[in-house]
Symmetry: D2
Subunit: 167 residues, 4 copies
């Protein structure tokens, strides 16, 4: 169930360039938009909780993810694998699907929790999925089970995203 | 939000063959397991509601889906497209992701709602996704906006499913 | 390298219903179109050969596939997995991609070779991919390493395919 | 048919960090490995040719791609869409599938040709697919129909790739 958060803690100023509008411009200067630390920690916590439900009998690699919608609500997802490996759904994509199903098409932040030795970045599929609904300044918090944290902007993870404007 | 339903209306007897265990056996005799009509209608209703949130700016083909978990709860999803078309997430897959994220890995029924002239069956990706968590007897109700209904068993839609037992 | 085959051995009469045009009509009566036995055997042979190149370090499940284009040429593919499991590309999809890249958008037959105990059917993703370019009467030959064979029509594998006509 | 190229024009020194081995280390300093200009031009030419076969009736966005294997051979692919949008196969992924099917699992360079106003970068799915077989220094040449060129390293396009080492 999405938790309501204090809106004042989220910076809402228009980002310099919207994800859907950029045209191969290098986002080299992308830095994570400032989002209150406790908000990101809440995302990480919810990602850790949902990870318990990951269905990963094939990879044994359980992932939990949480995204923050523009409304202030949080949506979560875990990975859902399939005996046909190509149908594996990543946790980040599940969280985005939950957000969109709730009517949110603008995302402000994300957190990903894995059991890897180093915090793991989203795969390319997830980066592209996040870019459909988030700006290059969207903060993406990577956390592992030992609590190691790493904060990157979406535009640092995929500086030259394929976008709708190319179509 | 998942609605709690009366468990007595759902037949729980062990299906003749579990999806994950079958080995290319023809499921030619698959018939939809009996699920109370009002339950299927509720799935269709919830699929129609969530369809309003479909993000389909590329195909303009909005889909809503609902699945019934073994716990009696209902989970919903809508399609979520991407400017990279191959990242489009079907409504059925979103609903399954929501179910699994809530801890359900056994699904009893599904409904799909589309705006097509004839009620539309799930695509192959969705059939394979449903087969990971449902049996061949799982009823799949197809409905369109004019209210035309069609009820099929998962095993009628994909009689020779690829399953874990082949790996 | 695609092998040129004798066109006379392939039945070309218009199938009763084209894959792209059917509208949820049950294809219960679908039977594999008659394709010369030696032609199907050649597909199986080529599927076995290409399987040697399968890149399957994650599932260890190697698959080879071959499809026959309307020109009489044969195209092959093997599965290509990825550390992000959802990016795994099935052998059948690789073979179809090779056919389309060579200018073929009408496929007449397919063969799939796996190392499973029983010959394995294509997964739902592959069925949907084949249905974009093949008719319900398209023969799909399933073979395993021990030489066990099973011949099914595409319309037997997915009797109620999602098709372009629903969009 | 893959063209054989002069091996001496391709730099083969061990890249500073292999794609499959890196662990979230920033590849901020990634620069395209030096590959002879004529070689890249050949990739662009072959990408343009194969693009003619793109099957893109849904997006109308035709893409061609070519990759250079470690053997010196070139493999090509075009996008292959499906009425179920999520099954769209990108041109880059088709080219990689062709390379792997020919026995190549080490890729040295890639070119992508689109009809967009600005040369279009690969989507996240393609970046992840390329990263399975290429190093961060792998040059990726982006070209459009007007001949505008842009050369980037894979590690510039996805500086913090998800890799096998995280599993």
């Amino acid at each position: 169930m999405p938790a309501r958060v204090d809106q004042r803690t989220v910076s809402r100023r228009k980002p310099p360039s919207a994800a859907n509008g950029r045209k191969g411009r290098p986002a080299a200067a992308a830095r994570p938009r400032q989002v209150a630390g406790e908000l990101l920690e809440d995302l990480a916590l919810q990602a850790a909780r949902i990870r318990e439900h990951a269905y990963a009998p094939y990879s044994r690699f359980k992932v939990g993810a949480a995204v923050l919608g523009a409304s202030g609500r949080v949506y979560t997802g875990c990975n859902v694998e399939n005996c046909s490996y190509g149908l594996a759904l990543c946790a980040e994509r599940g969280a985005v699907a939950a957000a969109v199903a709730a009517g949110e098409t603008s995302l402000l932040a994300a957190a990903v929790l894995t059991g890897s030795e180093e915090p793991s970045p989203p795969c390319g599929m997830c980066l592209q999925t996040l870019a459909e609904f988030g700006s290059p300044e969207m903060p993406v918090l990577l956390v592992n089970l030992r609590g190691v944290r790493r904060l990157l902007a979406l535009g640092e993870l995929m500086p030259h995203a394929f976008a709708r404007s190319f179509l």
